[in-house]
């Protein structure tokens, strides 16, 4: 994918992610972008995209700064661990990673609530974790397909 098309793809992704996050409270769409960056080992783009993702999530959130860093660190750690055991394209990997991400989402919220002196809504967090776990594999597949389609189109 050419540099320009790549950046255009990421800008479109960020706009769509912000709009989708406005529609579904608590959902993190940018996580899928981070997973794609890890999957493609695209560390050059990660250098500017990861700080941007963190700033966006911290900016639109209401918690003190820090929780998103823990959450994205958990996403990266889980992805690395998963890739160590499975192939990235494997269905079990996608399924397990999504389930672990759902659990990590709940875990981070539970961990940060007393640290930041905020009330912890068990039911609400559970619901959002579940939505997050279900959302990730579908969005991941869809976005990977658009990236492949983009590349194929360019090669033709």
């Amino acid at each position: 994918m050419s540099r320009f098309r790549d950046i255009a793809w990421w800008v479109c992704f960020i706009i769509a992610a912000v709009v989708l996050q406005a529609a579904v409270p608590g959902l993190d769409v940018l996580t899928v972008g981070l997973i794609i960056l890890l999957q493609e080992r695209d560390y050059k783009n990660m250098l500017w995209l990861l700080p941007l993702f963190i700033l966006l999530q911290e900016g639109m959130g209401t918690r003190p700064f820090g929780a998103v860093i823990v959450w994205y660190a958990a996403v990266m750690a889980l992805f690395k661990m998963g890739r160590w055991l499975f192939e990235v394209e494997n269905f079990i990997f996608v399924f397990l990673l999504s389930a672990c991400l759902g659990a990590a989402y709940y875990g981070v919220a539970w961990l940060m609530a007393p640290l930041q002196n905020l009330p912890f809504d068990v039911q609400g967090t559970m619901d959002t974790s579940l939505i997050q776990a279900i959302f990730v594999p579908f969005a991941w597949r869809l976005l990977v397909a658009t990236r492949h389609w983009n590349t194929d189109d360019l090669e033709k």
């Binding site: 912000v18 959130g61 700064f65 820090g66 981070v108």
Partner: protein
């Protein structure tokens, strides 16, 4: 042989991983405590992240509005003639009612002057559009995002209302967008009193979809279900007299010496589209120069001592 080698490799890897994790944890905690003291990263997130979010959402909302308007206009055209006739009838009716109410209005003005209700010039209303509700994994508080920031009248602490009543106050702001803490959030506390019985209390949010609680209302207070709670202004955060909630249930508390009062917000916080920000103008409340100083009510003045047997 291979097994031992694998184990050795695993131990080395594990030790290295633990070391990296430890260093990262220390770095994170250092950054976290530094930010708690200085709020530099909080400000950076609000100024940059929230600003980009607002910049993305504002045109999206404009396009959505335009599409909705076109759609509704098309359907409106179908019944526009009937509606026009109905509205004309209503205008006639309202004009007649306005004439009849002229006397009531004059009476209200007189009564206001009589009870000296403050004509508050210290707050200036500013319209704002609701861009979104809670957004992202970091939005744990009950909040909304609006289209005004600190450079356009939405500074942190600014109260928000609709024509029905109080919505909340600005929690954090970027230049052109801000996040508003709704009155239903568990961390929201508002000084109120009941409109009829004038019993003071503190209105506390209990979370989305939950009823509000009014704390610290004396047991002998004559608060009734259906009564409206208005801001008392005693907390210094909200102007006095804004309707906030309606009392649903009143009973003596089982655990405290106060009343246990449940209430519901007057504003439908799930379907907000436009809101009004009450920006403090800094102008002092006007005082009537002809007003005589109020009589001081306190302990009795010391009189001549009487001899005791």
């Amino acid at each position: 042989m291979f097994r031992i080698g694998f184990q050795e490799l695993s131990l080395v890897t594990l030790r290295r991983l633990l070391l990296i994790a430890g260093v990262l944890l220390i770095l994170f905690l250092g950054m976290y405590s530094w930010n708690q003291r200085t709020h530099v990263l909080d400000d950076l997130g609000a100024r940059l992240g929230l600003e980009i979010t607002g910049a993305v959402l504002s045109p999206v909302r404009s396009v959505q509005d335009a599409a909705e308007n076109m759609w509704s206009r098309y359907f409106d055209l179908v019944g526009v003639r009937e509606e026009n006739e109905r509205l004309r009838q209503k205008v006639d009716e309202l004009e007649a009612r306005l004439l009849a109410n002229g006397e009531d209005l004059a009476e209200l003005k007189r009564l206001r002057a009589l009870v000296q209700l403050p004509v508050d010039q210290s707050w200036r209303p500013l319209g704002a559009r609701v861009l979104a509700g809670r957004m992202g994994p970091n939005a744990v508080l009950d909040s909304i995002t609006i289209s005004r920031g600190y450079s356009t009248g939405g500074r942190p602490g600014t109260p928000l209302v609709t024509h029905l009543g109080l919505v909340g106050r600005v929690l954090k702001a970027s230049a052109h967008s801000s996040i508003v803490l709704l009155l239903t959030d568990p961390s929201s506390r508002i000084a109120v009193f009941s409109q009829q019985s004038r019993a003071p209390g503190i209105l506390a949010g209990m979370g989305t979809g939950q009823r509000l609680e009014v704390n610290f209302v004396q047991r002998d207070a004559d608060v009734k279900p259906g009564e409206i709670l208005i801001t008392s202004g005693l907390d210094g955060k909200y102007p006095k007299g804004i309707p906030v909630a309606r009392v649903l249930h009143v009973a003596p508390s089982d655990y405290t010496q106060f009343l246990a009062i449940k209430a519901e917000p007057l504003v439908d916080l799930h379907h907000l589209e436009e809101v009004l920000l009450l920006e403090p103008t800094g102008a002092p409340q006007p005082l009537d120069p002809t007003e005589a100083p109020k009589e001081f009510v306190g302990p009795p003045l010391p009189g001549p001592k009487t001899a005791t047997p």
